[in-house]
């Protein structure tokens, strides 16, 4: 298989760091261009140099680079729609950071423009690309623990700004740019896992989300009770609740209760940090990030379906937004997905 030429648009989202490393070193991907729009343009420039990719000040210039076939968009969430629609118009395949957009209308626009342009659109939800959760899914599908009845899912990250040197992440604390705080940041991962594990969608959600821990202007922790159509009950806690001293950085956990068995699944692959004169986070070749990049590249190169479509990501967003709505109203919210 030939290599897919990638461009990265923006380093506003810190995931750009790990995706860059994966794309550049990928079996069938190549990092050819980086653009510096949004926060952290200096980091983007340095990364372009590090990987020998072309650097563009603005994403518009990058989109006009004919050498670029696909883009990974890590710009602030409120600009997802604008940038993704433009990327589609320029015929670039799109790997778009989550959440897909700020609202469902924008999500629709992203999906429609990708369809119209005939380009692939994929969202990167990591947990389903981790070995433990894949194993759990396999065991569920073969009936190893009977009928799945209950899931307690935990998708928690550390207190932001995550201790990355030289990265400006203040936009995460601005709801107009991020769509929400800790729950918006981490719940989509847990929601994707639930959708994938159950093969079903929730019909009702009740949630409590708030700025409870740190005094940020945005929420830092939330819990949602999700009732799925076919009967699975799930409780999802998501946010930034892990203090600095916590032994896990990101923590993705699942307690799966079946009629005949119980699975205790932990999926996070922690990065590691080297502390010397300064702290440096090291992004090793994580199987989940590799899985996302490889499956996206394969879908593009072989013209196959992507594993996580825009439509699924829109459902995911609808669930997360319904959780926020429920929390605001103090009442359960019904979903029709």
């Amino acid at each position: 298989m030939r290599k897919l030429n990638f461009g990265i648009i923006s380093y506003a989202h810190p995931h750009a760091l790990r995706f860059a490393s994966q794309i550049a070193g990928g079996k069938n991907t190549k990092l050819v261009a980086v653009s510096g729009d949004g926060s952290n343009t200096d980091v983007a420039r340095a990364e372009a140099r590090k990987y020998g990719a072309r650097f563009y000040e603005s994403y518009e210039e990058l989109l006009r680079d004919e050498n670029v076939e696909a883009v990974y968009i890590a710009i602030e969430t409120y600009r997802h729609r604008e940038v993704a629609v433009r990327a589609a118009e320029e015929g670039k395949h799109i790997l778009l950071e989550k959440p897909i957009a700020l609202n469902l209308k924008d999500a629709d626009e992203v999906i429609k423009s990708a369809k119209k342009a005939g380009v692939k659109l994929m969202l990167p939800f990591n947990p389903r690309f981790t070995d433990p959760l894949r194993k759990a899914k396999e065991m569920l599908d073969t009936g190893e623990i009977g009928v799945l009845e209950y899931v307690n899912a935990i998708s928690e990250n550390v207190k932001p700004p995550i201790f990355l040197q030289g990265l400006d992440m203040s936009w995460f604390l601005d709801e107009r740019k991020s769509g929400g705080g800790g729950f918006m940041d981490t719940a989509p991962h847990g929601v994707d896992s639930l959708l994938w594990l159950t093969g079903d969608v929730p019909k009702k959600v009740y949630a409590d989300i708030g700025a409870k821990i740190y005094g940020f202007p945005v929420d830092d922790i939330g819990t949602a009770v999700l009732e799925f159509r076919k009967g699975v009950l799930a409780v999802l806690t998501a946010g930034w609740g892990n203090p600095k001293g916590y032994s896990y950085g990101v923590e993705m956990k699942y307690y799966l209760v079946g009629s005949e068995g119980f699975l205790d699944v932990r999926t996070a692959y922690p990065d590691f940090t080297v502390y010397q004169e300064r702290a440096e986070k090291v992004y090793w070749d994580r199987p989940d990030v590799r899985g996302i990049v490889e499956s996206f590249a394969r879908a593009v190169l072989r013209d196959e379906e992507v594993p996580i479509s825009g439509e699924l990501a829109k459902k995911n967003l609808a669930i997360v937004l319904a959780a926020y709505e429920s929390s605001r109203k103090g009442k359960p919210v019904k979903l029709d997905l």
């Binding site: 009977g146 209950y150 409590d208 821990i213 009770v225 409780v235 005949e260 103090g330």
Partner: protein, 335 residues
Amino acid sequence: MELKVGVVGCGNIFNLAHRNALRAMEGVRVVACMDVIGERADEGARAFKARAFTNLDEFLDLDTDVVEVLTPTYTHAEIAVKALKAGKHVIVEKPIALTVEEGQRMIRTAEKEDLHLLVGHVRRFDKRWVQMKEIIRKRNILPMHIRKSEVQYLPFPADYWYWDEGRSGGVAVDLGVHVTDFLRWFFGSEPVSVYAVGKAIREEARANGTFDHFVMMISFEGEKTGIAEVSWAYPYPARYGVFYHQVDVMGKNGRIRYTPLDTPVVGVAKANFEMPRFSPLLSTFPDAFERELRHFFNVIKGREEPLITAEDALIALKIAEKAKESARSGEVVEV
């Protein structure tokens, strides 16, 4: 001063916990054991060289200071009220009663008779939780979000009283009051509202028209959130032990987590793996019951102020009762 104690109900919780705790107790003497099953009453009485009864009125006629009520939940109110009216202080196992109304009647009677009514919420005497609560205070953790799970695979057949909601209150009450009290105790705040979802996973639950898996999200004053998960349907294999607690306290100044699933346990690995347990049914340590009873007897002797009152136990039950209402209606219910 020696207290004369009579025990009503010589079944599970008596045999697993109270018998040994009472034997270790100084300053009290068990003088009577009553059970509707004669054999059980005899066996209980033998352990204390006490008198055995199968008739409640005869048992209450005997000169005792304190009656311990260790019977199934649906009988708590009747027995406790009778004992109080007969002039005995009462220690009753949790839940205080099957319904809030019954619990209120017990409290009113105790007040009228000017006697102590103490409810065995043993979690408040479990070293793990006592120490956790102490650390929360000392380090000013300021809890805002607490998840507490108490789950097990209930080892009883479908016709056992636990499965009958009209006798036990169901899992939402039986295990539920442990967790609702725990959350209120840890937050130090009063409950505002509750949303709950119940499931019937096991055949035993479906056959009895009750839930065996129950999740509550409880809002407490001060924007605090408690998540309670209780279950009789956790299909834990024996190697996991039979009863599980999980606690996750997230506060403004830190986080405390307890989960035996993450922690290495002392285990025995031979052909298979076993986790030795002191008892297949018990959810706490035997010394917690000892501390609880010693404290209760000291309260009765006027030496200590109660760490948990009957009103506390009543609120724990009230939250669980409202949670059941929420699970039925699918709506948030005010507490």
